[in-house]
Symmetry: C2
Subunit: 106 residues, 2 copies
């Protein structure tokens, strides 16, 4: 899948129950059809020096940039964003057209 990708890496504030945030995010994307793929993970394996304190990665794919823009302004997303933002210690967000090399796009 190519598509428009929204990638977030984050470190949550101490005391945050990351599982709850992720459950909220899973619920959010399951309700919004614009989100074509969604996966996340908690870093446990990267050398500490290379992870630089970031603990979670979140990846979403949309068919096109307009769908991402519509997702951002969706009332459910706006509501969730308040919870998410409050839990963040640091964050990097990248948005890009994904070049899918493997597996080859049919």
């Amino acid at each position: 899948m190519g598509g428009f990708k929204h990638l977030v890496i984050v470190r949550f504030k101490e005391g945050t129950v990351a599982e709850e945030i992720m459950k909220g995010l899973e619920k959010l994307v399951s309700e919004i059809d614009l989100v074509k793929s969604f996966s996340w993970g908690q870093d446990l394996e990267s050398p500490e020096m290379l992870a630089q304190g970031f603990t979670h990665a979140i990846s979403m794919t949309f068919d096109k940039k307009q769908d991402y823009t519509a997702f951002q302004t969706h009332p459910n997303h706006v509501e969730f964003s308040a919870t998410f933002s409050a839990a963040i210690e640091k964050i990097v967000v990248l948005c890009f057209s994904s070049v899918q090399v493997k597996p080859a796009v049919a």
Copy 2:
């Protein structure tokens, strides 16, 4: 797809021809069957404040952690790493078991 994910976000040094680095990476993963999926992108869309200077994202998926470990020590990877490392201004690497929420894993 779930699997073991290797996620890299990077800012290349000024003067780096990122396209050449990415071509090298595409060649590398196409030669090594352990890499099950590979995609990358150049951030063009994220608000500058949120991208924090990072410019490229690279995502690879392996069936299991052992395959990732084998990839890391593959001679072609070791050779490519020298070129890649020399071009990096800053980098974050996260490795994790991916939780695939959407589309549902069959």
